[in-house]
């Protein structure tokens, strides 16, 4: 296991006008589980491929453990990669798929057998060793791909959206299993995903990317509670955070309390669960029309329209379906303020 350090990694594809990645720097500590999260096209997979050595960075350096791996061939980096489509060798049996990496590294036969046995037992693949990949279900293939990575006992595990080809139910189950598995083997993991639930539930640390730039690095809670800018604020959390300009707040009739930044213009973000709602009028609360009421059991999501804006609120109240008016206010301590010009966080 080892620490991974990226310094000013940039990548421009030949003939492209804009860089896919610019100035990416962060550190993955030993045994840490780090997610690269961002919308599609943000460069997260390219970054993972650069770490693996499958793409070459235009500039910047990559240090794994003590050694500079910036220009080292993939097979000498001692990393394992789990591909989105698993990329199993179709003409080899499950056992060969798992053990080939070890055999090519000239490891002793008895040790290979022991490691393959331990890994396949851990993943419940021991009954499938003789099969070819095409005779496996999607979930089984995914586990073979994982086994191929685990059995190598590499310095770093790189996973590229490994759950995206599974159905929703299996994905939920596998998410937890993966987390426990990597805890157990004390793996250093870099995990690419576009799914915020995966990133939030599995990671020690999340790196949020957009347009090839890092938007924020932090623990799941830090990112949720203190988003660094409007992009992160709206990207993380479902339903999405409400974003209101100072003007919109005034138009809807919200009385500023004086705790807001004393700026000409700012943008306020407030998460749906940080709106307090009421079915009756209250002193100082804003009145709005309930356009939509979506009960989901524990929580009910309301879409409330007010002059100049529409907001979403999540509440534990059992909202009466025929109630068309709502009164609401914001929990002050949970309001996020951003600069309207740059989008960066102010408070």
């Amino acid at each position: 296991m080892a620490e991974v350090e990226l310094t000013n990694i940039s990548k421009i594809f030949e003939g492209a006008a804009h860089p896919v990645l610019s100035d990416i720097s962060f550190t993955v500590k030993d045994t840490e589980f780090v997610s690269l999260l961002g919308p599609s096209g943000c460069g997260k997979t390219t970054l993972l491929r650069i770490i693996a050595g499958l793409e070459e960075q235009t500039s910047g350096s990559l240090i794994i453990g003590e050694s500079d791996m910036s220009r080292v061939a993939p097979r000498d980096r001692d990393m394992a990669f789990v591909f989105q489509n698993y990329a199993l060798y179709p003409h080899f049996s499950v056992e060969d798929n798992i053990s080939l990496g070890l055999r090519l590294r000239k490891i002793e036969k008895t040790e290979i057998a022991a490691r393959v046995k331990a890994t396949t037992e851990m993943l419940g693949l021991d009954a499938l060793l003789a099969r070819k990949p095409r005779a496996l279900s999607g979930g089984q293939r995914q586990r073979v791909a994982l086994a191929r990575a685990l059995v190598r006992n590499p310095k770093v595990f790189l996973l590229d959206e490994p759950l995206s080809n599974l159905d929703a139910k299996l994905r939920d189950k596998t998410r937890g299993e993966l987390r426990m598995l990597f805890k157990k083997v004390k793996g250093t993991v870099i995990y690419v995903t576009h799914d915020q639930i995966e990133a939030m539930t599995m990671s020690d640390k999340i790196v949020i990317l957009q347009d090839g730039k890092i938007q924020q690095i932090g623990t799941p809670n830090e990112i949720y509670e203190k988003p660094a800018n409007i992009f992160v604020a709206t990207f993380i959390g479902t339903p999405q955070m409400n974003i209101l300009t100072k003007k919109e707040m005034q138009t809807m009739g919200y009385a500023l309390t004086g705790t807001e930044p004393s700026l000409e213009d700012f943008t306020c973000g407030i998460r749906p669960e940080d709106l307090e709602v009421s079915v009756t009028a209250r002193q100082g609360w804003v009145e709005g029309a309930v356009d939509l009421c979506e009960p989901t059991g524990a929580l009910t999501t309301l879409t409330i329209s007010v002059p100049g804006a529409a907001l979403r609120a999540s509440t534990t109240l059992k909202w009466p379906l025929d109630q068309t008016r709502a009164w609401f206010t914001f929990k002050h301590e949970h309001m996020h303020f951003f600069s309207s010009a740059e989008g960066g966080r102010i408070n």
Binding site: A52, G53, L54, A73, P74, R75, R77, M79, A80, F81, F83, Q84, N85, A87, L88, Y89, P90, H91, L100, G101, L104, R105, R148, R152
Partner: protein
């Protein structure tokens, strides 16, 4: 059970289909059957007024005369050397070139490949003489090397294998690179096995092509002991008369290995053609 109109129609369609297929099979097989039966007939029976499909009197004289007239084992040996070596070399070289064009990144790859395709427009007859002169100045006339080398890479085959290889997901190769395969091991242990259908197809093409080839061995191999089977067979075709029984026996000997190879590779062969059709 009552038959409906559509049932009757499908029965009629099936009948017509089978009649058509049976007629096609007869038309295709008849020359082969005729060749086979003639090779077992006596010279008298070959020219009877009422032709017989099966010999009335079976005789092996055609074969005996064939083996007496020419050194069949020698020419068979020449043919095997020619066909096997050209097949082995061309499949290897074509697959290696195709791998480079399909999966390796190097500057000018597409241009080089286009140039290669352009050479397909030059007919073989045009290059035959210059190639002959080159081989002559290299002192390779009358040698197996001279016979085999010019045909040991074929643009069309490179094209076919490249198209097939392009369908193999890049991630499999990348997984192999991370797993520790060398570039040659990726080609040998991953790409080649995955290309089995197209390789089988081209093996059959190449083997049958070389086995039946007449013109090139004729002009390269000037000495009789270097003749391949088709050339040797043509040489016993006398100036004034033709011994048809002997000639047909010769034709059977020539055709047999080609048919056997085809039957053996048939399963992969058809897969390869179909795959090529969709992916090419």
């Amino acid at each position: 059970m009552a038959t409906t109109k559509s049932d009757r129609r499908s029965t009629a369609y099936k009948t017509a289909f089978y009649v058509f297929m049976v007629v096609s099979v007869i038309i295709t097989l008849f020359p082969f059957v005729w060749m086979l039966s003639t090779s077992f007939k006596s010279p008298g029976e070959i020219f009877t007024k009422q032709p017989t499909i099966l010999p009335q009197l079976w005789t092996l004289n055609g074969y005996k005369n064939l083996f007496a007239a020419v050194n069949m084992w020698l020419h068979l040996c020449n043919s095997v050397i020619y066909a096997v070596s050209i097949t082995a070399l061309s499949v290897l070289f074509n697959a290696m070139a195709a791998y480079a064009f399909a999966k390796l990144r190097f500057p000018g790859r597409e241009k080089l490949f286009a140039l290669l395709l352009v050479t397909m427009m030059v007919p073989g007859q045009v290059t035959m003489l210059p190639v002959f002169l080159i081989l002559k100045s290299l002192g390779l006339l009358n040698s197996y090397a001279g016979l085999v080398l010019p045909g040991s890479a074929a643009v069309f085959a490179i094209f076919m294998i490249r198209q097939f290889m392009m369908e193999i997901p890049e991630e499999i190769l990348e997984a192999a690179r991370i797993d520790g395969f060398s570039e040659f091991a990726i080609f040998w242990r991953i790409m080649l096995p995955l290309c089995r259908p197209i390789i089988a197809t081209l093996t059959v093409f190449s083997f049958i092509g070389a086995w039946n080839d007449f013109l090139w061995p004729l002009i390269i191999m000037l000495r009789e002991d270097k003749y391949t089977l088709p050339v040797a067979l043509a040489s016993i075709n006398g100036q004034y008369n033709t011994d048809w029984g002997l000639l047909m026996a010769g034709a059977v000997v020539v055709v047999l290995p080609a048919v056997l190879i085809f039957l053996m590779a048939q399963k992969h062969y058809i897969k390869g053609i179909a795959a090529g059709a969709v992916k090419g």
